[in-house]
């Protein structure tokens, strides 16, 4: 660590979470302004692009339903490829949102406030993009509802032993809780927008969705409790959803899939890819909407630290898989791993290593960690790498399994590519609509972490001008902030652990 970095992160005094000497009104104006201002041409252009890509998805799926899975490159050895890769990829991305909003909330990581809203939105949209695949990768889409345990005239239950069924429950629970959590967090901000509404329609619609929010103490009390409970509910989901997704593979008997390391490895990978996606999106959004003061370099740097941590964990998992493959003495497993690294898909494997393990190591350097272009490039690399990780797991394990006579080589078809590309269209369309029509930053929460909100920070320049409902939270923060302060030194460590240690 450089001395410069040491000087910046002086123990005892933390970097402010909101920059630019704003007051509460300025925060409201900045965030609500995005929603209330006229549509900008650049947004329209971006939306047009995103919708075009979305149309590619719709076209691809239309053809898929009309003609069958044969339009993809799958074969009778590799039955899953880009479809399930895409599924795991998107589900993984979603995890960062839940982690930021739930786990960091429970650990009182204040810096999450300016990014949690967008991250949660990203979670929901990512889950929606992910959901395309389990639905459409089945041969008879029109019967996909048989996956749900709906009472029927055949008295048939689904097979509760199947990890795919666990998936159905895991994903639907995850989607439900994520939407609820996101929506509950939105309520105070929707009320703010409602109060600022200039048209009748707007005020009625926002009035409905803000659930009669009055900003009363009782409102806040109930809100905080609900939010805490939902955060508590979401927290195990961060671990469980990807654990269950990993069971799709771990429970099978395919060498390369049948590994007990998968649950933690998948969760780490999910958080890794999710944070990378948040960084990519936030870097763009803060620039586009002038949110540099709310989403500060500090925020981005913290996320980069998590990327560095989880990237290293993922690298460790890659390495330990090799150790176990050798140590376990199972010849098929050993072959599967040798084949990954040196077989026909070695290009994919080493792309994965380069993107996921090597590139985040650059974040050891503060200069890179705090450089917007560098982090943007690395976050994109991480996303590419994590896509390849799933591809490597799925395709390289399947294409050469037990019986060599059925070994083959999977090549994607045009429609594999267009379906995956199209899922980005869905994601970005929804994300752009979100940015335009909903407050992208949690206004009320950000206000709570501003210095003004801290009643004990009277000596500060911006004193007591507008603190109202946030004093509980703010004082809580003040209490803790005395115990914290060494975070900057241990830049590599994750925030949670840090927090825990300091408490203990």
């Amino acid at each position: 660590m450089t001395t410069a970095a040491l000087q910046e992160d002086t123990p005892g005094k933390r970097a402010p979470l909101v920059l630019g000497h704003r007051d509460f009104n300025a925060v409201t104006e900045t965030v609500a302004g995005i929603v209330e201002k006229k549509t900008t041409p650049s947004w329209l252009v971006l939306l047009g692009l995103a919708v075009s890509v979305l149309l590619i998805l719709l076209g691809s799926l239309g053809k898929l339903v009309a003609e069958g899975l044969g339009i993809w490159g799958l074969n009778n050895t590799v039955f899953w490829a880009w479809d399930i890769t895409g599924f795991v990829f998107w589900i993984g991305i979603g995890h960062a949102g839940t982690l930021i909003s739930a786990i960091l909330f429970l650990f009182r990581q204040k810096w999450r406030t300016s990014i949690n809203r967008a991250a949660e939105a990203m979670t929901i949209f990512a889950v929606m993009s992910a959901a395309i695949y389990p639905v459409f990768h089945v041969g008879r889409v029109w019967f996909a509802y048989w996956l749900f345990p709906i009472p029927n005239q055949m008295s048939m239950w689904p097979n509760f032993k199947s990890p795919l069924l666990w998936d159905v429950f895991a994903i639907s629970t995850y989607a439900t809780v994520s939407i609820l959590f996101w929506y509950v967090g939105l309520v105070p901000d929707l009320a703010t927008l409602r109060d600022r509404a200039t048209t009748k329609v707007r005020s009625i619609v926002l009035g409905i969705f803000s659930l009669g929010w009055r900003g009363s103490h009782r409102n806040w009390l109930n809100y905080e409790k609900t939010y805490l409970i939902l955060a508590g509910l979401s927290t195990p989901l961060v671990l469980s959803v990807h654990t269950i997704v990993s069971f799709d593979f771990a429970v099978s008997i395919m060498p390369g899939w049948h590994t007990t390391i998968f649950p933690p490895y998948f969760v780490a990978g999910a958080i890794f890819s999710g944070f990378a996606m948040v960084v990519s999106l936030m870097v763009l959004a803060r620039k586009a909407y002038g949110l540099e003061g709310l989403i500060t370099i500090k925020h981005l740097e913290n996320m980069n630290k998590i990327i560095l941590l989880t990237g290293t964990m993922v690298g460790y998992a890659y390495a330990i898989e090799y150790f176990i493959a050798w140590y376990g003495g199972n010849e098929y497993e050993r072959f599967a791993f040798i084949n990954r690294a040196f077989g026909p898909y070695k290009w994919a494997y080493w792309t994965m290593w380069s993107c996921n393990v090597f590139s985040p190591q650059l974040f050891w350097f503060k200069r890179i960690r705090t450089s917007i272009p560098a982090m943007f490039v690395i976050s994109i690399f991480v996303n590419i790498g994590m896509w390849f990780e799933r591809f490597v797991i799925i395709v390289t394990s399947l294409h050469r399994d037990y019986i060599p006579s059925s070994w083959t080589y999977f090549r994607p078809s045009l429609f594999d590519i267009s379906t995956f590309l199209g899922s980005f269209g869905l994601f970005f369309t929804l994300f752009l609509l979100f940015l335009r029509f909903l407050p992208a930053v949690a206004i009320s929460e950000v206000k709570g972490v501003m210095p003004q909100a801290d009643p004990h920070a009277g000596h500060d320049d911006h004193g007591h001008d507008a603190h109202d409902d946030h004093h509980e939270e703010a004082s809580a923060k003040a209490d803790e902030s005395e115990d914290e302060g060494d975070e900057g030194e241990e830049a590599s460590d994750d925030a949670e652990k840090d927090e825990e240690e300091s408490r203990g």
Partner: protein, 994 residues
Amino acid sequence: MKRAPYPIEPDTSGKNYWRSVDEFEKSPSFAEDLKREFPEGAAEPPQGTSRREFLTIMGASMALGGLAACRRPEEVIVPYTRAPEEVVPGRPLFFSTAMPILGTAIGLVVETHEGRPTKIEGNPRHPESLGATNSFVQATVLDLYDPDRSQSPQEKGEARTWDEANAFLRKLGDDAKKKNGKGLAILVEDHRSPTLAAQLDALLKLMPDARVVRYEAFGRDVEEEGARIAFGKALVPVYDFDAADVVVSIDADFLHNEGSVVKNMRAFAGRRNPDRKDKPMNRFYAIESAFSVTGTSADHRVRVQSQKIPALAYALAQEIAAAAKVELPAEITSSLGGAAALDPQTAKMVKAIAGDVAKRNGAVAIVVGRKQPAAVHALVHAVHRAIGAVGKTVKLVRPLDEIKSGPAEIGALAKDIESGKVDTLFVLGGNPVFNAPADARSAIAKAKTLIHVGTHVDETGKAATWHLNRAHTLESWGDVRAEDGTGAIVQPLIAPMYGGKSDAEILEIFLGGTRKGYDLVRASWRGAQSLVADFERDFRRALHDGLWKDSAFPAETADLDASKVGAAIKAQKAAAPKGDIEIVFDPDPHAWDGRYANNGWLQETPDPMSKLTWGNVASLSPKTAKGLGVADGDLVNVSANGATVTLPALVAPGQADGTILVTVGQGRSVVGRVGKNIGVDTGALRASASFHVADGASITKAGGTTKLSRTQEHFLTEGRPLVLEASFAKYQESPQVVPPPKKYLSLFEERKYDKGHAWGMTIDLSACIGCNACSVACQAENNIPIVGAEGVQRSREMHWLRMDRYFEGDLDNPTSVSQPMMCSHCENAPCEEVCPVAATTHSPEGLNEMTYNRCIGTKYCANNCPFKVRRFNYHDYTKDTIEQHKMQMNPDVTVRSRGVMEKCTYCVQRINRAKISAKAEGRDRLRDGEVVTACQAACPAQAIHFGDLNDKQSEVAKRAEGPRGYKLLEELNIRPRTTYLAKIKNPNPELEGA
């Protein structure tokens, strides 16, 4: 399809009841109402559509049209108004018949459903079948329903009626009679029909100047020629491999595409059974250029160019004579000359073979293939005689007729056509314009009057003046005699679908007769069969049994003409090969000589060695390919006989260096929809002078690459214990040659299968040679679709039973094994655990069952299948099934739709059929052997056994528990129900380590 009510004319004879006052008054509005189905305005198209109306109607049509499209197709089931005798809907009937194949004939039992033949089985009583078949016989049923068959006689491409054709034939016949048959030639196939042979005899008597020529692109002409040299007449060697302790193949693929392959397979495999008590395991030496299916079962294999094999055969003959201390006739010995220059390793092998042969006291069969010159065939006759094999392992019988065949004959015919000596050519079956030697085929098309009898308008049919549509074997009356003379009646299973006629019927019309096929056959057997006591009874018996009892030809004795043999050998020796590179021609594994080019099953049946489908290649040895710098799929120019053909190359391990294997039969130009643009016509390389082997050939890299459609891309076992092998000596020492079964623990409660049946299968890898009969039989039985070349390239073939091929050892000279692989019905089936909708479940009898209509197609089961035997319907492969093909479908097996998984069911429909009959007989258990799966029935080697593992006396239980039985991937504790029996080889101890 909805059926409209018949237009019923009003019957005015009875009382008139009126339906309404309107009718009573005969008002015009009622008459109008009667005609219309819907009330006024509902069915008339709107007149003078405005934009708005147009949009309304279009919108409504879109919405309603969409709804209508959701309906399931309506079908009308029409009951028999007068039920045919013995036909019970849903219950199949079986009829015996027979068909000619490979210069012999095979007895068949054909399953029919409501009058539709759906599946061909072998006739267990027929000596050429013994219940088994091969892939071509299995696929014949698909040919019957080929929609591209010609559907009427044609004159220069114009459709004609049979009346017109008959008139033409009669006139032609009358004219020919007047001219004593001058200028008339008849070209026949290797038809094996005594009736047809008698008709041709009669024809030659009526028209002495006519000539009859027989031609088969891959026939037995060299063998016949060899017998003519040795004995002065065409005698047919009939082998009894059951009596042979040592078998030597001299370039002969006698288990796969030469001779009585099905019969040979059974007898040969019987002697490969290491558990057999009465006769020990045989030892098999193969000397060949290309790695043949037969060669894969060899204990020792010598790979050497076909053109160099004669020298090796001469050396072998000398060594055998020396080792067995027998004398070959002096003329032959002198012609063999001194020891040929063999390399030391080959010389050692030849010595060892000779030593082994000498020890066996005549229980030796030396089989010579069609790629070897007649001199070698003749020499082997002499050797057989000298060592006392004649009468023991080889029987000589008379041929069906004395008509000569071969490239020289058809070459002479072609010359006569060109010179105008022959102006009328009657092609009774076959497609000589496509598959005759290169120097003859264009001339055939030039005949002034060319009459083609065939099931398809092929190249010959297109060139013909008259094409007469021939009835399929399964549609016509006829008869055949097998190689050994056993006679059988060919009976029709269905009336000719397109009104075709059989060869005999057409010839009858030509000769001025009016008898139908049935009468012709009866007449022929009534007269010819000396065994017949009561014709009606015996004819019925022959029909029922599928053969004429004791009708085999007696063994002939003939004197060896040693001087001629010696002269032939000398002549052969004098004609030195023209160069180092040779082309050897084989029938195409898919299209045969072109006749099956339009058969989708066969096109998609992988070549047993290269696993190539949908096309043909030039196979090269690894060394030759490396020398040329080509890899699989690279295009090469192959030249011989002044012609050059561009083919994709394929590296074939085990092939002799400098040998190019080219198959003939693909690349048909006038062919139906299936065979269109498949493969390359290689016929130009094949001249009559170098018909089976073209020496002095050349090959160059052409540049460019094509994608080969192969069902297997990896041919190494990677050291995995998939195919277990041991030597016979070791097996005799201690029979436990495979690791003994282990008991693995399961986390779950184990299912018990101690009550009722526990179905299981055993596959004997010692017997299996990988001929694909089982695979095609499975396809026919289970309505398995084909996926086309592109589907195979994407590895989406649907075969429930695939044949895996592995090579082992040296790349240049490996050994090879084949392993049939289908669903093993694991007791702890990994597929069942992971299916989210419980579409694949276990039956109480241990079958892993697929419920198609529950399957939603997550494909997880297939991912989790360690054997990768599950097959997914990526497209709707059966949606566009042609009406004719629908008739072939087995009604007992569901036709699968798009998006569902499928796999081997252990022929559950056959199990259930047997159970129903057992129940009807009041039994609650099936007897051993009552259920025979399609693959098991077809297997000529009897490698597959199926039955109840709970019945400890059953064949399958005994085999499964025998010392050779092992389970694949046992350590996964999936507990497959299919047991493989280790392959036992019987190498010569003298050559061990060589």
